[in-house]
């Protein structure tokens, strides 16, 4: 009974956003965003603060009205529907539990507002609290609960009226690191059990990667890339995404030659071959951004002839791996990670090394996009 409406009819999206625009004066906070969320999908909106992800969330929840575009939920245009008439449950950043109401009253609130009969209400409140594994706290006040418990009450309040979509605004942001990790797993499990469609706003890339089916990277009011966590990591669409998701070495280079197997580039520390990001076109002589993940750079001790010559500046032990900070010939620095037991992990400062990377691991982005 706690299952929100599952999508019955094929591939129509649970939520679809078309060319959504929101301006505050001359600032464009949402700049033509289009997005489809499938039923039962866990989708994250990930971006730095000020990127416009919160505005997007406010538009979805109905606290802001868009200047253009539309939001459709199961083929109903809701972009002008007031927030209290939208079939969307929301978990707020600091939970926003009503401090003057008990746990039971908080969870019963949406049902009461919808005129659900008292007997039915009680049963559904119990069921919702059972779902979030918080039975026996009915009469507690929010102030008497721990952060994690408040989080569960907020979740119960958002799912108790079985909304079509669940919005979560940095719901784990106020918890300490250990509890956050634990709640990530639990939230994900719960979402799977309920088959709920979740839109999850966060600025924590680790959290987004760990929990989402797909992640929309938001930057300057636009979707920079919408993809699975794996794709985001392995094939970032822009230097911004590459930089935002995981670690990356970013540097400038110039296009020398375009070949079918990749682009030959000239950088300050030597020639290299890279793969262009999809959709971008390059011409000879063009300036580009190049990105290489540190773990995709091979490090070899000694001056080999086929790699980029460099010297060790420092090695830093991180537990599961060791980061090598290498000073390249032109003075710029690249990071590479090696296994702690590798010989390269114990090289001393100033020793000569050579670095290399496979063409498919060298991302070539248009310059100036980041």
């Amino acid at each position: 009974m706690m299952t929100p409406h599952k999508n019955q009819g094929g591939d129509s999206a649970a939520l679809s956003i078309r060319s959504l625009v929101k301006r505050y004066g001359s600032v464009v906070a949402t700049d033509g965003v289009s997005l489809d969320v499938s039923a039962g999908e866990f989708m994250s909106l990930l971006g730095p603060s000020g990127s416009g992800k919160t505005t997007l969330l406010m538009l979805l929840a109905g606290f802001e009205v868009a200047d253009g575009g539309e939001i459709r939920m199961r083929d109903r245009d809701i972009s002008r529907v007031p927030p209290n008439k939208r079939d969307i449950g929301m978990v707020f950043q600091r939970y926003a539990l009503f401090p003057h109401m008990s746990v039971a009253q908080n969870v019963a609130f949406p049902l009461r507002m919808r005129g659900v009969a008292k007997a039915d209400r009680e049963a559904r409140v119990r069921a919702a609290l059972e779902t979030v594994e918080l039975t026996g706290y009915l009469d507690r006040m929010p102030a008497q609960l721990s952060g994690g418990q408040q989080q569960r009450v907020a979740l119960a309040r958002a799912i108790v009226f079985e909304p079509g979509i669940l919005l979560m605004d940095e719901p784990l942001g106020a918890l300490d690191r250990k509890l956050r990790k634990h709640m990530q797993v639990e939230l994900k499990e719960l979402q799977g059990r309920l088959g709920a469609t979740v839109i999850y706003v966060t600025h924590d890339q680790e959290e987004a990667l760990a929990m989402s089916d797909r992640v929309a990277i938001i930057n300057a009011g636009r979707i920079e890339q919408l993809a699975t966590p794996r794709e985001l990591y392995d094939a970032p669409a822009s230097a911004f995404v590459g930089d935002f998701i995981g670690e990356i070495n970013l540097f400038d280079a110039k296009v020398e030659e375009l070949e079918s197997g990749g682009i030959k580039l000239a950088s300050g520390f030597g020639p290299l071959t890279g793969t262009p990001v999809p959709g971008a076109t390059f011409s000879r002589g063009q300036k580009v951004h190049v990105g290489i993940r540190p773990e995709r750079i091979a490090v070899r001790a000694g001056a080999a002839s086929d790699g980029w010559q460099a010297g060790i500046r420092q090695t830093i032990f991180n537990g599961s791996n060791v980061t090598v900070y290498a000073t390249m010939q032109d003075g710029q620095e690249l990071r590479a990670t090696v296994a702690p037991n590798d010989r390269e992990a114990s090289l001393a400062r100033g020793e000569a090394i050579s670095l290399s990377a496979a063409p498919r691991d060298v991302f070539v982005f248009p310059a100036g996009a980041a």
Binding site: G62, F63, E64, P83
Partner: protein
């Protein structure tokens, strides 16, 4: 995050309407109507203002009022600062006692306090009786209906307006700051003059402005304790209106008083902190 999803324009306007109506009907409009009388007799004229600024007596009253307000401000600052300092520093039971000593007079109606000062200061009053029984004076002193009595009573009434803002700005000083200055070898005096005093200046300014503004328009205490010989602007206004029935002239003096107080308030609005003017701790 800014407030989103607030009230609609029309709902908000409707909710604010009764207040707007009250303020216009019982404050703005009466003030405008009353003050504008000063400009007509019956045609437009500046004659009342000309008379006000040409008559030595009235200028003297104006000067005396400003002087009184200045002296009262200085005395409240002098007496209020140490108390504010104590309120900010003390903890526990003594903090409660000092706070009560400041707040109970504040909550005692001004009228009752003025009455009490009459009892204390009159010829056979508390002070004279005490002094006589101690053998300090033979003849009762004339205390009531003097300038000193007015300053004493007004200072008493206005002290909390000085103490509370200073106290709150003293409280805002991080405790480490004076301690650090001490640790760096500054003397207590030096810590006070170069750390505590400058940092409490916003509170001092707010207190001084508030006391000065209220003192300018004070009516009850000067009227009761100052007696007929002490003429303040406010007493002059009522005299003109109700005894001499010269409403246009009363209105012109009122305009000057209002321009003076509101002018100071507007010029120093940043320092004044009217928002924090809740008269309790």
């Amino acid at each position: 995050m800014s407030m989103r999803g607030g009230l609609s324009r029309s709902t908000a306007a409707l909710m604010a309407l009764p207040l707007a109506a009250l303020m216009i009907a019982a404050f703005v409009w009466p003030l405008v109507a009353f003050l504008s009388v000063s400009l007509f007799d019956p045609g437009f004229t500046l004659e009342h203002y000309a008379r006000l600024f040409a008559t030595e007596l009235y200028l003297e009253v104006l000067g005396e009022t400003i002087l009184t307000a200045l002296i009262v401000t200085a005395v409240t600052l002098l007496l209020g600062y140490p108390i504010a300092w104590m309120m900010a520093k003390l903890r526990g039971r003594w903090a409660w006692i000092v706070a009560a000593c400041v707040l109970i007079p504040l909550w005692t109606p001004v009228l009752v306090r003025s009455y009490a000062w009459i009892i204390i200061l009159q010829r056979r009053g508390v002070l004279n009786t005490t002094l006589a029984s101690l053998g300090i004076v033979d003849q009762p002193l004339t205390l009531l209906y003097t300038f000193g009595a007015v300053v004493l009573a007004m200072t008493h009434v206005l002290m909390p307006f000085m103490i509370l803002p200073i106290q709150s700005s003293l409280r805002a000083i991080p405790e480490e700051l004076p301690r650090a200055a001490r640790g760096l070898g500054a003397s207590h005096l030096r810590v006070f003059t170069s750390v505590i005093l400058p940092l409490s200046l916003p509170g001092v300014m707010a207190g001084c402005l508030m006391v000065f503004i209220i003192a300018l328009g004070f009516y009850i205490t000067p009227a009761l304790v100052g007696g007929p010989r002490t003429l303040m602007i406010s007493t002059l206004i009522t005299q003109q209106a109700f005894e001499l029935l010269n409403w246009p002239f009363a209105a012109s003096i009122s305009t000057v008083l209002l321009v003076l107080t509101l002018g100071i308030a507007i010029v120093f609005r940043r320092l004044l902190n009217v928002d924090r003017l809740s008269l309790h701790a």
